[in-house]
């Protein structure tokens, strides 16, 4: 599959999400190239708004977080905290005139759990519908930034 290179998604995800192993990630990275940057995290509750903001500032048109299903968090309520932090980040970006949808959170469902690959596709399809981020402009994205602190 080939994607055009003028949208980038920063995708943070809880390692508890099905199909989120090392091997799968490498496969997905091959598939999406630089269009999706994958950041596995031990617990979604550890994600800070500043990680989402740095991604938006430096390379991403959108920054999303996939948490483990509700009630399945290894760290008890990490995913619930994550929702509040994502909401706060949405408030911050809408304060400077960016669309709220550039930041989002997907909580996996316990009944019909989707794999990382399925979710990544769903979210990226959404990103493709968005205008390029006014922070980054319309041109090709540059990739010299690495949001390593999110790991």
């Amino acid at each position: 599959m080939h994607y055009q290179h003028n949208r980038t998604l920063a995708l943070f995800y809880c390692q508890n999400v099905p199909g989120a192993g090392e091997r799968e990630r490498i496969g997905l990275e091959k598939e999406y190239g630089q269009c999706i940057r994958f950041y596995p995290i031990a617990c979604s509750g550890r994600l800070e708004p500043v990680h989402l903001l740095s991604a938006l500032e430096n390379f991403a048109d959108a920054a999303y977080l996939i948490t483990c299903p509700e009630g399945m968090c290894r760290y008890f309520e990490g995913n619930l905290r994550a929702i509040k932090r994502v909401m706060r980040t949405q408030d911050i970006i809408s304060g400077i005139g960016l669309e709220k949808e550039r930041v989002g959170i997907i909580t996996g469902s316990k009944e019909g759990p989707k794999t990382l690959a399925e979710l990544a596709k769903e979210i990226f399809d959404k990103v493709l519908q968005m205008e390029p981020s006014p922070v980054l402009g319309k041109g090709e994205r540059s990739y010299d930034y690495c949001a390593t602190e999110a790991h």
Binding site: V50, E57, G95, I96, G97, V135
Partner: protein, 222 residues
């Protein structure tokens, strides 16, 4: 500790209009504890400001730095090496931090990024409550450890007023009535009789009445 909240982004940007090289300066003490001006919040605000500047094609440099304590001269001095590169400081310290930086670096404008709120306590994660006005003459002994100045809406020394109902203050059912707490606590210690005598008018000269306050301790001086 001192609590604070970040000012609205538009207000901050309004104050920064004339400046091109801005240092966003955090403080890792009180305002970090109340998640308003610590390292994390400083990074967030700086990032947000840079994004907005990029969106508007503004040609500005915005960098961040956090001091351990912005209200202590020994820490503020460390800015000496870097401050020359900027034409304004956006301080995320409390009012005391902002002024300590301004006092030391008289040539550079120091802009407050926070609204300093009150002396308070972190009662739970994400919950800070006011409980001291720094009146200079602590009366907590008489009032069972509950401050009637900071926690009673009408600062009653001989409360409660006629609006106290079910432990809540008349101004808002979300506000606890301080006087209910005072009475509950004193009666638990069997010390309710402390409240039978009339508490006399407060000596406010120990607070703002005497002009700006200062503490001088010669034994602490070098």
């Amino acid at each position: 500790m001192i609590t604070a909240q970040q000012k609205p982004i538009d207000e901050i940007r309004g104050m920064l209009v004339p400046y091109k090289r801005i240092l966003v300066l955090g403080c890792a003490s009180c305002v970090a504890e109340c998640a308003a001006g610590g390292q994390k919040e400083t990074a967030m605000l700086a990032s947000t400001l840079r994004m907005k500047a990029k969106m508007n094609n503004e040609d500005v440099i915005i960098q961040e730095h956090t001091l351990d304590r912005q209200c202590v001269k020994d820490f503020v001095v460390t800015l000496d090496d870097i401050i020359g590169s900027y034409d304004a400081v956006l301080s995320l310290g409390c009012g005391a931090g902002v002024q300590a930086v301004a006092e030391m670096f008289s040539e550079i404008p120091v802009i407050p990024g926070l609204n300093t709120e009150f002396i308070g306590e972190t009662r739970a994660q994400g919950l800070w409550v006011e409980n001291c006005l720094g009146c200079g003459d602590c009366m907590l002994y008489y009032f069972g450890g509950v401050c009637p100045l900071a926690r009673c809406s009408k600062q009653l020394f001989n409360g409660p007023c006629g609006g106290s109902v079910g432990g809540k203050c008349e101004i808002n059912p979300d506000v606890d009535c301080a006087w209910q707490k005072i009475i509950d606590r004193l009666s638990r210690f069997g010390a309710l009789d402390r409240l039978e005598t009339i508490y006399p008018p407060k000596n406010w000269s120990r607070k703002q009445g005497g002009g700006p306050r200062k503490i001088i301790r010669e034994d602490q001086q070098r």
